[in-house]
């Protein structure tokens, strides 16, 4: 039943290795969202935070404007839930893996934080790869929003329901009053294939069938986001290997 209009989706782009004082860095741009993540680790940890058998993960989220609020705590918590199992923590006990997520542009409308979360998860993964932190698998995330279409608009779904995938802020503000449900979904992949769902935040008013459908659509999108990541990594490695050509 899913009619997924991937053509309407904003293209994502990533760059890596542009920050010099950290082990790894990545920038993820999608729609009007732009997130930069830096990763340092494994590095020395405070005795107070030290864990005897696994690495300690510290995640800090900095907002684009204003001061840090409970919103950043919420994002930190969700990002941690994703990466606590993806990073191979027991390879580096008694060390610290420090992840700093700087929101350059959230790309979310005032009441939402879905794009910030999905873009942050993608950017964090790219930065972890760039830093060479051992990870079990690939992670990619996406945002899907269902809204009530106006009478004159063509809807992707029967019953007057429209879909936005990784939208820009303008698109979100346009449909803000008609939002039915917002889904932020992250999948784990191995060898380019979807392995399992790692995180999902669905808010609004939706049925069981709608949300399960959203998960299926998200799986396809995450697979193509994974392809974008692979290309970015290939480009990054080619850049770094330039010296071999001389």
């Amino acid at each position: 039943m899913t009619v997924l209009d991937t053509a309407r989706r904003s293209a994502a782009s990533a760059t890596t290795s542009f920050l010099y004082r950290v082990d790894g860095s990545a920038s993820w741009k999608v729609g009007t969202s732009h997130i930069i993540v830096s990763v340092s680790g494994p590095i020395e940890v405070n005795k107070r935070d030290e864990l005897p058998d696994v690495a300690t993960v510290e995640i800090v989220v900095r907002p684009d404007t204003g001061v840090t609020s409970t919103r950043e705590q919420f994002l930190q918590d969700r990002i941690r839930k994703v990466f606590a199992t993806v990073i191979v923590l027991d390879l580096h006990p008694r060390t610290l893996i420090q992840i700093v997520v700087q929101i350059v542009q959230s790309g979310d409308s005032k009441m939402l934080n879905t794009m910030t979360l999905s873009a942050s998860i993608n950017a964090t993964y790219m930065a972890l790869l760039d830093a060479g932190v051992p990870v079990r698998s690939t992670v990619s995330a996406t945002s899907i929003i269902y809204y009530k279409t106006q009478a004159d608009e063509v809807s992707s779904w029967p019953g007057g329901v429209g879909v936005l995938i990784d939208p820009s802020r303008t698109e979100l503000e346009r449909i803000e009053q008609d939002i039915m449900s917002v889904h932020t979904v992250a999948y784990e992949l191995k060898g380019g294939k979807i392995e399992r769902l790692v995180l999902s935040e669905s808010v609004g008013s939706f049925t069981e069938d709608q949300v399960l459908e959203a998960y299926d659509s998200a799986a396809k999108i995450c697979q193509s986001t994974n392809e974008t990541m692979r290309e970015a990594v290939i480009n990054g490695v080619q850049q770094k290997s330039r010296w071999r050509e001389t």
């Binding site: 409970t70 918590d77 808010v203 049925t207 399960l212």
Partner: protein, 297 residues
């Protein structure tokens, strides 16, 4: 010979010590029994007993005390007046804190506060137009203060306290003073607003079936679904979690949060949790309603 006795005693430590030192092994000992049972002696799909008391706090528009198992949360609802033009997207602000703690709130509580605010905003619990003060350009905004009283706490108990308090909230009638005036945001003057201590109006919620928050765990390996996780042993041993906010009586869901941990969460798990959540929501609705009708609500 007598020296061997104390040594033998210390080797056989108490179950509580076992649970603290090796929570996952302790949990495993119970859950691998046939039929599986949890250390709290609940079956996998059994929920905690729930008690709700309402309207116990003075000086509030509404209040509640909710106890689920060992977790206790108290919610008090008050309000403050702002200019309608300064009103934000929400007519309800929530704050969660643990009683007896000093210093800045822990990150887990901050995250919970944010989650409650966003969920309340999306859940559309009541029509904010009820809070407008007639004949003025001002409106009331509700503030919900949730206090967690127990050592163990979780978002679902805090949310339940909020819902129960809102269900009995009464807005006092506004009286416009005829002897005092105040400046408004656009430099006009308006009468000062006072609240009647006797005349109140019930806050009408958008539905009799409230959107309760129900949590589940999904085990790694066996994929067993456990309803209503509580306590450190379960938290550490069962890392996959599914949290559902839904109301009984219809097939819509307001919030679904999944964090897989190391578990493989399938669509069947999700369906099972939603079905159990709907039943629990109906049960909680009836616990609240009977408390309101029989108690002081």
């Amino acid at each position: 010979m007598s020296e061997l006795q104390p040594f033998a005693e210390t080797l056989s430590s108490s179950p509580q010590l076992f649970a603290r030192l090796l929570p996952t092994v302790y949990f495993d000992r119970y859950i691998t029994l046939d039929p599986p049972i949890r250390p709290s002696l609940r079956s996998p799909t059994q929920f905690r007993p729930c008690r709700i008391n309402t309207s116990a706090l003075p000086n509030t528009f509404g209040s509640s005390v909710v106890r689920m198992g060992e977790c206790i949360a108290v919610c008090g609802i008050t309000g403050y007046i702002i200019d309608s033009s300064e009103a934000g997207p929400s007519a309800l602000y929530t704050n969660v804190d643990v009683v007896g703690r000093t210093g800045p709130p822990q990150s887990e509580l901050m995250s919970m506060s944010e989650w409650m605010y966003e969920t309340a905003l999306a859940a559309n619990l009541f029509d904010p137009a009820q809070l407008k003060i007639e004949d003025t350009a001002q409106t009331l905004v509700l503030q919900a203060q949730v206090q967690l009283l127990s050592q163990m706490y979780s978002g679902d108990v805090a949310w339940a306290a909020l819902l129960a308090a809102l269900a009995v909230t009464r807005i006092p009638k506004a009286i416009l003073a005829d002897d005092e005036e105040t400046l408004t945001a656009d430099f006009a003057t308006e009468p000062v607003i006072r609240f009647s201590s006797s005349e109140t109006k019930k806050l009408e919620l958008n539905s009799e079936n409230l959107p309760w928050c129900i949590n589940f765990g999904v085990m790694e390996g066996t994929g067993l679904v456990l309803a209503d996780l509580e306590g450190r042993v379960e938290e550490v041993s069962v890392q996959g979690s599914i949290t559902v906010i839904t109301s009984a009586g219809n097939n819509s869901i307001q919030n679904l949060s999944i964090s897989a941990g190391k578990s493989l969460i399938s669509k069947d798990h999700i369906r099972q949790c939603i079905a159990l959540a709907k039943q629990r929501a109906a049960e909680l609705d009836s616990i609240l309603q009977s408390q309101i009708h029989n108690g002081n609500g």
